[in-house]
Amino acid sequence: MQAILKAIEYYLPPRILDNPQLCVVAPNWSPQKIQSKTGIEERRISEEEELSSDLAVKAVTKLFESGACKPNEIDYLMLCTQTPDYFLPTTACLLQNRLGLPTTCGALDFNLGCSGFIYGLGMAKGLIETGQASNVLVVTAETYTKFITPTDMSVRALFGDAAAATLVSAQDSHSAETPGIGPFVYGTDGKGAKNLIVQTGGMRKPVAGFASGGGDEDADEHVLTPPTLYMNGPEIFLFTLDAVPELVAGICSRASITFDDVDLFVFHQANEYMLRHLRDKIEIPPERFFVSMSHCGNTVSSTIPIALKEAHKAGRLKPNARVMLVGFGVGYSWGATMLRWAM
């Protein structure tokens, strides 16, 4: 058996935050400047009561409605999110129930950001090719915008909310030399943790009243402000300049391929300006480098499946096309794989 990527659907919440709206709180910016510096025209914002699980249900429901598979055929569900509904229970368990998946279905959450889709594919392949599962749903869902203060343009201009549902299924192996998904290269450097972080709300810095059960609070220990996303963009960019070229070289070496063997390169859609710089630095031909983020911004773990879906819709992915997927970011965490397009 080998794992193949069989279907992708994604969902964006309806509320739009476009560049003219952004400029209302940042009058020294212009819509054109935001567009030219990020490649983003609009991003989608979840409503206050609209959580990652809600976005995930919408994305998976689209996948079922597409006819790719039925709920009772799913035997494993994994949800990549850093904005779960609760500390516990596992949001994937809630999704199993809401989606009507069998109670024999395995379900887990995993906490990764921009590299999460690559890790999800890696785990799905492992489950399928060791005979533990046949139809794995890899769901990515984030509502980072709930962590963003309205005046912090460095993150507000970039991030949008979204969910994507990807079906990875077993099929009979045709050739060991052309795997449906893989090989993989991974990497981690926790020294970069401080550069993209929500410091409060976890156990290290609980929000006020939480650790004491709502009783006496020590304002020195209990943070009074809501959990807020902090990003040191320049440091993150410097990290990508080091990590991503090495990652691309690593996956080429692991897969014994050159750039000529790759039909399309799909990187984590962090920021189009950064992507163009990385593309030129690595010397990837522009016509084989796909970018799709102007309509939704940086949606963290969903950027790669969204870009794949858009590339497919645009006719950029023919059956059997070889695609390089590269994810990198919060952690720091990174990963890359090769995909044989099977849709």
Partner: protein
């Protein structure tokens, strides 16, 4: 690298008219300076001048001239290492 070459690249990055930025301009007061320009500066230093300078080091540069000196020093040490 020479100063006029660096100033020209900085004008282009910040999208300002020629002559707006001088060597003694305070870096963070440059018109158009923002978090995104900062990222663009790192890309520019990497692409056009072949150096990577830590954001903390850039923030310690008060004027454009301080940054030019930092870039020149980085280029010199890269040459010596090679």
């Amino acid at each position: 690298m020479n100063a006029p070459q660096f100033l020209a690249a900085l004008h282009e990055l910040c999208d300002v008219c020629a002559g707006t930025i001088q060597k003694n301009s305070v870096l963070q007061d440059i018109p158009g300076w923002s978090s995104m320009t900062f990222i663009g500066l790192i890309a520019m230093l990497d692409e056009e001048f072949g150096v990577r300078i830590a954001p903390g080091t850039i923030l310690r540069c008060h004027t454009v001239e301080d940054l030019i000196e930092e870039v020149a020093a980085e280029q010199k040490s890269a040459k010596m290492a090679a």
